[in-house]
Amino acid sequence: MPAFTSAEYMAILLSLKVSIVATLVSLPFGFGAAYAMTYRQFRGKVLLDVAVNLPLTLPPVVIGYLLLLLLGQRGFIGRHLLQPLGITLIFTWKAAVVATAVVGFPLMVRSIRLGMEGVDERLIQAARTLGAGWFDTIVTVIIPLSLRGIAAGSALMFARGLGEFGATIVVAGNIPGVTQTIPLAIYEYASSPDGDAMALALCLVSVVISVVVLLLHEYLNRRIAKAD
């Protein structure tokens, strides 16, 4: 087993950081989208459904490229929103977060939605007639009862984030120590003549992190089931 240099440690830490931040940032939006699609009737619901699920079917490279066009210096969001605020996203770790969040979003929304659809509508009605407003009902009934879906969605997104490659390499590049996550590092070692051992070692790290995440998810799931 080859010894990791600081570049590899940086890649491991960056992978974790990007996935965690992407999951946390997406959670409120994912919850909002799932709530709207489960409980609200509005025009353009189908459109929202398609938009949310699009990243699931598009090649990640396409997403990365579209994000680059949108967030870049001449892109719509880049020029009108990010530049006035003095934010540069492209080729920073924040761009990797955005890419990871967009790619993992449909998975998160699907899981939360599944959890919400499992909540008995009568319980929500009971809460309302007992004097709870809609926000109160969300906090005291819907969130606690769809916790499994929320946990599953977060775990899925985190796991998907660890493997994110296509979109990240386009918007964040592959800069060691700055935007190079584990998959990008593996890619670089795999394409260099004597990088096999290092690539394999990083693969092993990837497997270990994934197993830990899955075990943690299973553990949380059981605790929630027990609390129910």
């Binding site: 009605q125 009971a126 809460a127 007639t129 007992l130 004097g131 407003g133 009862l145 609390a227 129910d228």
Partner: protein
């Protein structure tokens, strides 16, 4: 309580058009399943939005399409007891009970937690999770949870249909006890005439999404006697039996009724079908039926091809039915004297 309603709601193949004004504390909504009773309940509670119309409860507008008023369900103060308990599974019994209580305005709180817990006998359940309760216990907790939110109107949407017979009459007693102790007007929705008779005075008869009639439970039972396979059901609440020859003798209307359905409880509700009462003109020498009551005809009414005969026996009232020929033969008219023979086994204990 006065409820003034004029509602229209189109649900595809089914449409509800309900217009009525009803006053009273014990209102019933009676009709077969699929007639729109539950839709009416959710419109009243604000869980569904009508297409147009208005809802006024004691003069306060809860919904009015003409001036765009639609009070959200949490501010209508209309409590619902559903067919199934729908307790919050992630809370224990106490947290379930306090859910509505904590959200009610302190000035509206009229229900004392401890005395309600006492009335519904759920004190020993408070710290339990809701999964460890029996069906009857769950429904009692659900009733208590709704009552504790201090509603000004209690909607009961078939609260007994999911319970088996013996449990049903226990829960009825609890419902009545809670209603009487805390004086909350209720709208009791059911397809069971018997439940209507016990729980409601004024009754709205619903059919095919329309209010067909506003009547009383008693009138409804009399008008349906002719077509009903069980006739008119006399309900007798009897107490403190004496054991006589393997039967129970209950004091009733200044005399005693012998009943073979034994019961250990001090008080019980019995039903007696109008078909099980035989009317005789003269006192027979001997008869196998164990109850022979000396009665005066208080009233007669027609229902289908049957004649209903309301009998006054001492202080008690019973309704018997005979076919028209028999009524002629016996010369039945208001004020005439008759003997009513009833077998001890004809009484059926409820619950």
């Amino acid at each position: 309580m006065e409820l003034d309603v004029d509602l229209h709601k189109n649900l595809g193949a089914f449409s509800l058009d309900a217009a009525f004004t009803v006053q009273g504390e014990r209102i019933g909504v009676f009709g077969p399943s699929g007639s729109g009773k539950s839709t009416l309940a959710s419109l009243l509670a604000g869980l569904q939005r009508p297409d147009k119309g208005h809802i006024r409860l004691d003069g306060e507008v809860l919904y009015d399409s003409s001036c765009a008023v639609d009070v959200p369900p949490e501010r209508r103060r209309i409590g619902i007891v559903f067919q199934r308990p729908h307790l919050f599974p992630h809370m224990n019994v106490r947290a379930n009970l306090l859910y509505g209580f904590r959200r009610s305005a302190p000035s509206d709180r009229r229900i004392d937690f401890d005395s309600l817990v006492e009335v519904l006998q759920i004190g020993h359940l408070l710290s339990r999770g809701v999964h460890n309760l029996s069906g009857g216990e769950k429904q009692r907790v659900a009733i208590a949870r709704t009552v504790l939110s201090s509603p000004r109107l209690l909607l009961m949407d078939e609260p007994l249909s999911a319970l088996d017979d013996s449990l049903k009459f226990q829960i009825i007693d609890y419902l009545k006890a809670a209603g009487e102790a805390f004086r909350i007007p209720h709208l009791f929705i059911s397809h069971s005439l018997l439940e209507m008779r016990i729980m409601a005075d004024r009754v709205l008869a619903v059919g095919a999404g329309r209010i067909e009639a506003q009547t009383t439970a008693e009138e409804l039972a009399r008008s349906r006697m002719g077509q009903s396979p069980v006739g008119y059901i006399n309900l007798l609440r009897l107490a403190h039996p004496r054991r006589v020859d393997g039967m129970s003798a209950y004091a009733w209307g200044g005399t005693e009724l012998l009943i073979s359905a034994a019961n250990e409880r001090p008080e019980a509700l019995f039903e007696l079908s109008s078909k099980d009462i035989i009317l005789i003109k003269q006192h027979p020498d001997a008869i196998s039926a164990r109850n022979l009551l000396d009665c005066i005809v208080a009233d007669t009414f027609r229902s289908g091809n049957k004649v209903g005969v309301e009998l006054a026996c001492g202080g008690g009232r019973l309704v018997a039915e005979v076919v028209q020929e028999a009524a002629r033969d016996l010369g039945i008219e208001t004020g005439s004297r008759l003997f009513a023979a009833i077998k001890a086994s004809a009484f059926r204990r409820l619950g």
